[in-house]
Symmetry: C2
Subunit: 242 residues, 2 copies
């Protein structure tokens, strides 16, 4: 039987989502618990994609194969075994050929920036910029990125891919109590893509670059033309759509 799970985690104390030897990872923790429930017969999970060290998730998803079982009971047992910083929200049955990575239709990430005073309770959960941003200028810049583009200029420098083309459907800006939340909805995102776009936006929001620089960097297909990769701490994988 194939199942799809939806789960959330605090990325602060993980070496990222993906299993690595002798490191604490989200995938590793979930697989260990599922394996225990399975009488110590190894269970693997296949995520919608990895998240880097320090990145959080509100709605990560993964599929796995398991015997026929009461899904509420499985969810309860799993959450009892899991550490406090990971939580399974839902487990549902899917078709045998469903694939959590290949079948992704759309993903939503959010990035949080504190434009107000430094908050020592939030430094792992919001980027502490502690400066006002010109959000209208950032919105202008975002227009250049929406649509289908080659995003090579916004990926990790040493990331070799066959295909750097992705679609960004929407970039939305919202301010509440000095916290700017930028929401990205796209077909998929390259490694560091959101954090590099945020680096560009902040440069523009601080008036250190004009908004049309966004187009110049995008067109260059050259990461070295861009700005700082922003901290993982403000980044959340919010939703994965199938």
């Amino acid at each position: 039987m194939r199942y799809l799970m939806t789960f959330s985690y605090d990325g602060s104390n993980f070496y990222g989502y993906q299993v690595q030897n002798n490191k604490r990872t989200v995938q590793g923790e979930i697989e260990n618990c599922l394996t225990k429930i399975n009488g110590n017969k190894k269970v693997r999970i296949v995520g919608s994609g990895r998240t880097d060290r320090g990145v959080h998730a509100m709605g990560q998803r993964a599929h796995f194969d398991f015997k026929e079982i009461d899904l509420n009971k499985l969810q309860t047992s799993l959450n009892k075994l899991l550490p406090l910083d990971v939580y399974v929200q839902k487990i549902e049955k899917v078709e045998d050929d469903f694939h959590a990575r290949f079948d992704v239709v759309k993903k939503e990430y959010i990035y949080k920036i504190n434009m107000g005073e430094y908050n020592p309770l939030k430094y792992k959960y919001e980027y502490q910029l502690n400066k006002k941003l010109d959000v209208d200028k950032m919105k202008e810049a975002s227009k250049y990125l929406i649509g289908e583009h080659n995003f090579k200029a916004f990926t990790k420098t040493d990331e070799e891919k066959d295909d750097y083309v992705r679609i960004i459907y929407d970039i939305d800006f919202e301010i509440k109590n000095n916290i700017l939340t930028i929401k990205f909805v796209g077909s998929g995102f390259l490694r560091y893509m959101v954090r590099n776009i945020v680096g560009l936006f902040v440069e523009i929001g601080l008036a250190k670059a004009n908004s049309n620089v966004a187009k110049a960097i995008l067109d260059s297909c050259d990461r070295t033309k861009g700005f700082k990769t922003f901290s993982p701490s403000g980044l959340y994988l919010n939703k994965v759509y199938y």
Copy 2:
């Protein structure tokens, strides 16, 4: 010269506010940094009161004596030296006989309870009850506690005091996105007092006790008549008034 500082901290990784040998404490961290700035001549700070292990603060206050100095520069140097989980919001000059503990007029604490689904990103910042509460019943109960009372029934069992009388000016309930925030304003609070009152309120909110039980427990002056001491993780020292 005497100064008053206002500061915030994430209590998660401290053994409480008050200095203890070989333990990481908020007071200890601040004193170490002030001492460094003072050319390694020991500086002591006197807090408005201690907060227990795991309790957070948005507006804790303390006084200290220091040479005449540019207060903006002192604040900046201090925040550079301090770890990421403590932040000094303000330093102001006060009278030589000002005392951060004895001169307190009013304190405000808040307690946060998540009545919605478990959130692995917030277990250190909101109590994860993950159950609906009957907040109207809790409000009814709170009426019995407002005013000047002997709060011995709500303090730490082995806490010997001369005086258990305190005034609660207001208890306020607010719900936003399934997070219940209970705000307590009082002349001062005994050790564990807020956490023990929250324990009572939750019992009533879950319909395991009637709201008039609040009066019976208060009148008993006996801690053993009460309920669970709630977790420090949902508790914040919000404001101290002089």
